[in-house]
Amino acid sequence: MKVRLMLTCLCDAFYGEVVIAAARVLESAGCEVLFDSDQTCCGQPPFNSGSWDSARTIARHCLRVLDLDKDDPLPVVTPSASCAAMMREGYPLLFDSHTHLPVFELGEFLWNHLNVRSWPNARPTERKIAFHTACHGRAIGLGNVQQNLLASLPGLQIVPFQDADQCCGFGGAFCATHSAVSAGIGDEKLKNVLATGVTELVSGDMGCLMHLQGLIDRQGLDLKTRHYAELLAEAVA
């Protein structure tokens, strides 16, 4: 199956490894991955900030580059529920339309569309992780598919922590405009994770993890953040 990979602006700038991992996981699940280098951003930053004209300008570019303005487009897969939610739920608001674009979060695509339930050649691992459920999964009905995919890796244990599904406080530009509130929410999250004794915090959106890693680095905490695609790729690709 051919899929178009969407890079996301954060991974473009900082976290290339995450998308490399996503590409390798998709390939090991039997996909042919296509990438168009003219892609930039989904438009969510100005959308969330109330600058919808700018968001529309970017959205039109994004639709064109990913061939989503054509008939029968290929599925677009991205390692971010946030970008997927923007394109599936945000674009209809921007354009006052009811089109549901075939844009999918990586885990959602693997689980719901490729029916991946296990990894025949997965390398066993010995690791305990905490999993932060990113909020934008709500908007696309993601459920627990990312955790399920991780839990299917032999030897990987997800340690529960309090309020795992509460927001991390990132919120895009919110984290800079409301920095004290944002950091306070993030600190709650980190406190709950640290209480488990786990040193690896995994999630599905680099926005959350960029913010949390920034807090971790500032406070010198014994915690590192990873995108779950990286863990999948290490085990199966």
């Binding site: 473009d12 509460q166 409301h178």
Partner: protein, 455 residues
């Protein structure tokens, strides 16, 4: 730096207050779903039904209100239509002056509608003595504070603070026992109920079909306030109508379960008019103030569905920003997610649209809302409207959009961004980020290079 009000307020919040808000909010959120599951196998289906009934109500509001008025009048409830806060206050003062021209004690049960019209100030200025009889509202009143939550007005206070206030007011010896504190308040308030000539309450639901008012409460102060004084005045936003008696089961369960995690409140009152000739007690007059105050306009506008709200406060309890900053941070009677949409919808986006900025858009509010109000979507729409209403184009995002539609320039920009981030060049976004966090560093290989090398 010019910080937004919610963030500014949060910085000055005492850690003790933050802990009170957080602990109570977390507890109430945790009990919500298990309680609702007792009544409904499919809670979402129940929420959906409630949303549809409220939408039907908003679609047919004029005729339902007319039916309600006819039914209410039949049972002797005097209905007063108030276009705005000033009219409502005027009507209430007129009724009160009719009972006691020289002023009197007025017992008040908890009501957000009366907070909205700042009724207590007006009553005092006119020579009346309003006494809040809900325990939380009573503490608010003696502390010259303001409610910070639409259901639990002193969610921001702990029992030590309440104990100190009661001692200061001479209610009794210092105690931190909730039972003893309640007993002190009870003893004090009893005499107020007995001498009050007017009782003022809110309304949770008004049934169009029968003209009955429905009020839920746990303390019994509402029953006392609405039955002992000779005059009962109920104040209600006109969207609180529900069509039929048979809708009540659903709405009461959803309201109470979402609000306090109870299956039912200690009291559910049905007010069907003043005391009948053959009844031993009850008020001689029952008045209902039907408050518009921006609601009709909001119903006709883009934020219509915020008027489905049944004031359960579940969105406040669940909101990470509310938990961090407290209700007072929003600077409005209505705070948290509901306030950030309702306040601008009622009073104008150009004036209060900034309230919608104080959200990480996590979506928790919509998930817990008993009438499925799409709060996050409306927060976004308000941000858009507020930006357009500001009249000045947003230069930074226009520049960003320019970059994002020129792939070559974008690629260059992206490749130097990690370096730029570390440079001393400052901007508000960066300083806001950097205050609490280290700047992000590039991890591993850029994807574009990996892809290029591979193909």
């Amino acid at each position: 730096m010019n910080r937004p009000p919610v963030d500014q307020f949060s910085r000055s919040l005492a850690e003790e207050t933050r802990a009170s808000v957080r602990n109570a909010s977390v507890l109430k959120t945790a009990s919500r779903l298990p309680t609702l599951h007792v009544a409904y196998d499919d809670v979402d289906a129940a929420r959906q039904t409630a949303a549809e009934i409220k939408d039907y109500t908003l679609d047919h509001l004029a005729e339902l209100l007319e039916t309600f008025e006819q039914q209410a009048q039949k049972s002797g409830i005097q209905v007063h239509w108030a276009n705005d806060a000033a009219e409502a206050v005027e009507q209430i003062l007129e009724i009160c002056k009719g009972v006691a021209p020289d002023g009197c004690t007025i017992v008040k049960a908890k009501s957000m509608a009366t907070e909205e019209i700042h009724l207590n100030d007006h009553l005092q200025q006119a020579g009346f003595e309003p006494v809040e009889t809900d325990l939380g509202e009573y503490v608010v009143q003696i502390d010259h504070d303001a409610p910070s939550h639409i259901v639990t007005p002193i969610i921001h206070k702990n029992r030590r603070q309440v104990a100190a206030s009661f001692t200061r007011e001479g209610l009794g010896p210092y105690t931190e026992s909730p039972e003893d504190l309640a007993a002190q308040a009870r003893a004090h308030l009893r005499s107020q109920f007995q001498k009050a000539r007017v009782g003022i309450s809110g309304v949770n639901f008004a049934v169009a079909e029968t003209g009955r008012l429905v009020i839920v409460e746990n303390e019994g102060n509402n029953r006392y306030s609405t039955t002992a004084p000779p005059v009962h005045i109920a104040v209600m936003g006109l969207e609180k109508i529900i069509p039929r008696e048979k809708d009540l089961g659903l709405f009461i369960r959803l309201l109470v379960g979402s609000s306090t995690g109870q299956r039912i409140t200690s009291y559910v009152h049905f007010v069907s008019g003043p005391r009948r000739a053959d009844e031993p007690d009850g008020p001689d007059q029952v008045h209902l103030i039907l408050l518009d105050n921006g609601r009709s306009k909001a119903i006709a506008g883009p934020y219509r569905s915020i008027l489905r709200c049944i004031r359960c406060g579940a969105c406040q309890n669940a909101c990470p920003v509310y938990r961090q900053a407290s209700g007072h941070a929003y600077g409005h009677v209505y705070s948290g997610p509901i306030g950030a949409v309702l306040a601008p919808a009622l009073e104008g986006v150009e004036r209060l649209g900034q309230m919608a900025k104080a959200s990480s858009l996590c979506g928790e509010c919509e998930e817990v809302c008993p009438v499925r109000i799409p709060i996050p979507r409306m927060l976004l729409q308000i941000r858009d409207e507020a930006q357009r209403a500001s009249g000045s184009p947003d230069a930074a995002w226009i520049a960003y959009a320019l970059a994002a539609t020129h792939p070559r320039e974008w690629r260059t920009g992206i490749s130097v961004l990690p370096i730029l981030g570390a440079s001393p060049v400052s901007n508000p976004m960066k300083s806001g980020w950097f205050e609490f966090r280290e700047l992000p560093k590039r991890r591993g290989r850029p994807f574009r290079r990996w892809w290029h090398d591979r193909h």
